[in-house]
């Protein structure tokens, strides 16, 4: 007699548990490697900025940071699980790696002028820095997406000087 009742209770419980699931935008796993002249780039930040053609759904902006082997996993904000990737869509990819002089240790008794802004230096070619100049593109599809971004320290057709 209790078999049917038990099954009913199990169904009820399952419904309750399913109702408590985490909500967030649907994302696809995106991972990849960044290399400069064939060598992996460590501690660079890879950005996926959505390109939205008219009448299509927008992707999610996302970013990832490369490890010692140049590999990264993409992380979209807006409630998505960290490191789980980003939404389906077309993206412009930018890569930034910067270095600064270490900030001085804080000195509470120094005059205000004693706190200089550190110099920030780009360690990758400037074309990869802004979405308006980056030649890198990616299309995220359902499933796991794997990319290899090959950067060139002397990109062909790159603008000379500041423009």
């Amino acid at each position: 007699m209790s078999g049917r009742r038990r099954a009913l209770a199990a169904c009820l419980l399952a419904t309750l548990i399913c109702g408590c699931g985490r909500r967030g935008p649907r994302v696809e796993m995106v991972e990849g490697v960044v290399v400069l002249d064939g060598k992996p780039v460590e501690a660079a930040t890879v950005f996926f900025s959505p390109v939205t053609p008219a009448g299509e759904a927008a992707g999610l902006p996302a970013a990832g940071r490369t490890g010692p082997d140049g590999s990264f996993r993409l992380n979209a904000g807006s409630g998505a699980t960290p490191g789980a990737g980003t939404a389906v869509g077309d993206y412009v990819v930018t890569v930034i790696k910067q270095q600064s002089r270490p900030a001085p240790p804080p000195d509470l008794n120094a005059p205000p002028t004693a706190l200089p802004e550190p110099e920030i230096r780009d360690l990758l070619p400037a074309v990869y820095k802004l979405a308006t100049t980056s030649p890198l593109r990616a299309t995220v599809k359902p499933g796991t997406n794997t990319y290899r971004f090959e950067l060139d320290s002397k990109p062909r057709g790159s603008p000379k000087g500041d423009r």
Binding site: P50, P61, G67, F72, P105, P106, P111, E117
Partner: protein, 364 residues
């Protein structure tokens, strides 16, 4: 032998199960009612502080200075001799104390400074209750025993180094008249050309602790090369890779150890360049927190006070532009990005943060 009528074990268990089910259904509702009450108390605090800023403005003609050096403060207290300039700077909150019925803290703070006292003791170990949100988990004590704050001032939609004019209603290092001092003058309400009701004045922020900074929903990442052009999504990348690092040589200055943990100090501001409750990033120690959004333990957003004294709840989903874009200056370069003067690139949220970006903010 006659058996007494009684419950069987199965019946008893069934009853307990039903009660457990009802409690399970009821408890979330009770919890959200409790959070709603905490949020209401929190909204009252930020409203009072917003009105205090307006009270200060009508007495003095400008908004309270943020991060003014102590030397300026001692001059402002008429008849007091000029002190040695210290790096330590004063939060906008100190000027508000007389306007939230805490004149004693204000007076004791200046007396203590004049006597050469240690800044983080005495008056500043006091915890004004109005500065704490009931939903906050880390309620102090703060940095070296100082009182904490959940309420910070808005420095605009573009990060600005100390001493540079910000795009928000509060300038870092601002002084009253700019004579012989190093910062820009404080903002007057006439400068807020985007409209008082559509410009953010104050906002909520979680209190960091060194022990919990990497477990907070809006964690603090340490970023070596951060400048005003750094794209907010750079922080997400740090958080995803779990790449926090701790400078052990200065255990007092762990990333996140200062922000919100010393209400009298200059670590009491935020930027609107990133959406609410997204990760924060600091340079070494706690300097240059150029990606420093509002945050709270309330579900789905954070509260802000507007420059007209009204209080709004801003959701995490507010349009904050594309966070993967770096800030550029008027010439399109990432150098000196703080000098940008155009319309905000950070969407509606950035437009609400700037005082004269000349953006149109729709009535919500």
């Amino acid at each position: 032998m006659k058996r007494r009528p009684a419950f069987t074990l199965v019946e008893l268990l069934a009853t307990i199960a039903i009660i457990a089910l009802l409690v399970g259904l009821l408890l979330p509702a009770v919890q959200s009612a409790r959070e709603a009450a905490r949020r209401a108390s929190c909204a009252n605090n930020i409203k009072q502080l917003g009105l205090a800023v307006l009270g200060y403005e009508s007495s003095n003609g400008f908004l309270p200075p943020q991060g003014a050096p102590w030397e300026f403060c001692s001059r402002a207290n008429e008849g007091l001799a000029t002190l040695d300039v210290r790096y330590a700077e004063v939060s906008y909150l100190l000027w508000l104390m007389p306007y939230v019925e805490q004149q004693a803290i204000y007076d004791r703070g200046f007396a203590q400074e004049l006597a050469g006292g240690v800044l983080w003791n005495g008056a500043f170990a006091e915890q004004p209750v109005i500065l704490l949100c009931a939903s906050e988990i880390n309620q102090g004590p703060g940095f070296r025993g100082a009182g904490c704050t959940n309420y910070r001032c808005n420095r605009g939609d573009v990060a600005a180094p100390p001493g540079r004019r910000s795009r928000g209603p509060f300038n870092e290092g601002s002084v009253r008249d700019g004579s012989g001092m190093w910062g820009p003058a404080p903002v007057q309400s006439a400068h807020i050309r985007d409209g008082l009701s559509s410009t953010v004045m104050l906002g909520e922020s979680m209190i960091c602790t060194p022990a919990t900074y990497d477990t907070l929903p809006a964690g603090v990442g340490k970023l070596g090369a951060i400048d005003p052009s750094t794209a907010p999504a750079t922080c997400w990348a740090l958080v995803a890779g779990n790449q926090y690092s701790v400078p052990l040589s200065q255990p007092d200055f762990l990333p996140g150890s200062m922000w919100g943990r010393s209400w009298y100090d200059t670590y009491t501001s935020f930027y609107t360049n990133a959406a609410p409750n997204t990760p924060r990033c600091v340079r070494d120690y706690d300097w240059a927190a150029y990606i420093n959004p509002v945050s709270s333990y309330h579900p789905r957003g954070a509260m802000v006070a507007m420059c007209d004294g009204s209080v709004r709840f801003v959701t995490n989903e507010i349009d904050a532009g594309d966070p993967t874009q770096p800030q550029v200056n008027n010439a399109g370069s990432t150098a000196n990005a703080w000098s940008y003067t155009g319309a905000s690139i950070r969407g509606v949220w950035g437009a609400m943060g700037s005082i004269r970006g000349r953006e149109v903010v729709g009535a919500e």
